[in-house]
């Protein structure tokens, strides 16, 4: 049963990435000149996402602390993890052409990465609203069933 559930989680996760992979493949079929800058964008996005998510999780530790007599160790652990993200980002950006895009300085590139991450995050939220809203509305309109997965 657990193995089946594990498989279905992986299958759902893979299906999440399936269409984006198809579309990216389609851009290769249509325009062979694409690919330039893809690695930079991937790396910048990875580092920014890691750093900002770590900072967000660090802040959520204050809520976790409410139930655990405010421990210091996890805070320090996540502070180190976030700091590592910042350090690696600035180290990689300082290597010159490797991760730098059309920005004049390391600071400008880092700030540009944050704005781009926010834009992507906004798009993900609106996508979730659109698809989630559609599915939820459809489920609510259907009078035959009250919830999904109630019967096996």
């Amino acid at each position: 049963m657990n193995e089946q559930r594990g498989h279905s989680i992986w299958f759902t996760f893979s299906s999440l990435l399936f269409m984006p992979i198809v579309f990216c493949g389609l851009t290769f079929v249509i325009g062979m000149e694409v690919g330039d800058g893809g690695f930079k964008r991937f790396s910048n996005s990875l580092l920014t996402s890691y750093t900002l998510t770590s900072i967000f999780l660090l802040l959520t530790l204050f809520v976790y602390g409410d139930t655990r007599k405010r421990p210091i160790a996890p805070l320090i652990g996540m502070l180190v993890a976030s700091g590592l993200g910042v350090l690696i980002t600035f180290m990689m950006l300082s290597q010159g052409e490797m991760l730098m895009e059309d920005n004049g300085s390391v600071r400008a590139q880092a700030l540009s990465n944050i704005i781009r991450f926010s834009t992507t995050l906004l798009a993900v939220i609106v996508s979730g609203l659109l698809v989630g809203g559609l599915v939820f509305s459809s489920l609510m309109q259907n009078s035959d069933h009250s919830s999904i997965g109630e019967e096996e």
């Binding site: 990435l17 579309f23 249509i30 893809g38 964008r41 609106v126 509305s137």
Partner: protein, 267 residues
């Protein structure tokens, strides 16, 4: 950019961004209603400061984000309200909305989608300082790419977990086909402002962005899990008490029995 405008950008854009993030976190995570209200207010003030950044700090490249944010606010609000109206006019046991609100919801969602489409295929494209706003292009490509991913995932979930959910599966299939057609058209046909070649490049770059975001976010969550696991595994186990003796049980019964109705007869 001189020192003064650097400070202005910091105060009016980056501090505002921090306010949105902090305010959002406080309103989501705090248990106190006062703090939640304060968090919402902070997020609102920060968001407003970002939206008016094209007027307050026009020389900064960051203000393009404020312009983009303002541009998508209208259709996003319409979409949210419309979805709310449609969903909560369904088979809800409480606070069910009327049929008029349901119809309004459909109109709102239709208008919102038309508005978004008009940005690509008509003259509504957000242009800032004479050029297409680059953040809008990123947003639009990401929206199509991620919506498509979410639709596939929702289809798999509804098919796997749902019982007789053919209607939802058909709906998701239609949405998926429409999204595919929209992306395919965008990749092949030039819009009045967005060229197909630009869109091809944007889809590829946005794909890299999304995969980077998934991997980076996943790594951060993994690190968080690791930190919590280490902390919890090192904490001292709570002291386990011995089971009560016969004498202690008798004493407990003698204290409890006068306060329990029915008493010995029921037992």
């Amino acid at each position: 950019m001189n020192m003064e405008s650097d400070l202005q950008v910091f105060a009016l854009f980056w501090m505002a961004g921090a306010l949105v993030m902090l305010g959002g976190l406080l309103s989501l995570l705090s248990k106190s209603s006062k703090v939640t209200r304060a968090g919402k207010f902070m997020a609102l003030v920060g968001g407003f400061s970002i939206i008016i950044s094209p007027w307050t700090i026009p020389s900064s490249p960051s203000s393009a984000f404020g312009h983009f944010f303002g541009s998508i606010l209208g259709p996003t609000a319409l979409l949210t309200l419309g979805m709310y109206n449609i969903a909560f006019s369904g088979n809800m046991s409480v606070e069910r909305l009327s049929k008029t609100e349901r119809r309004n919801g459909f109109i709102m969602v239709f208008l919102a989608l038309l508005w978004f489409e008009g940005m690509h295929w008509w003259q509504f494209t957000p242009t800032y300082q004479g050029e297409i706003n680059p953040y809008w292009l990123i947003f639009w490509a990401t929206l199509l790419l991620v919506s498509s991913g979410f639709t596939t995932s929702a289809f798999v979930m509804v098919r796997g977990l749902g019982d007789q959910r053919d209607r939802e599966q058909r709906l998701l299939l239609v949405v998926q086909v429409m999204l595919f057609l929209l992306v395919f058209l965008g990749l092949q046909v030039d819009g009045p402002n967005v060229l197909a070649s630009d869109f091809v490049n944007e889809i590829w770059l946005v794909g890299a962005d999304v995969f980077g975001m998934v991997v980076g976010g996943g790594l951060a969550i993994l690190m968080f899990t690791f930190v919590i696991f280490i902390y919890e595994s090192q904490s001292i186990e709570p002291q386990v008490l011995h089971p009560p003796t016969e004498e202690e049980l008798k004493q407990a019964v003698s204290i409890l029995s006068p306060h329990v109705s029915g008493g010995a007869e029921d037992e």
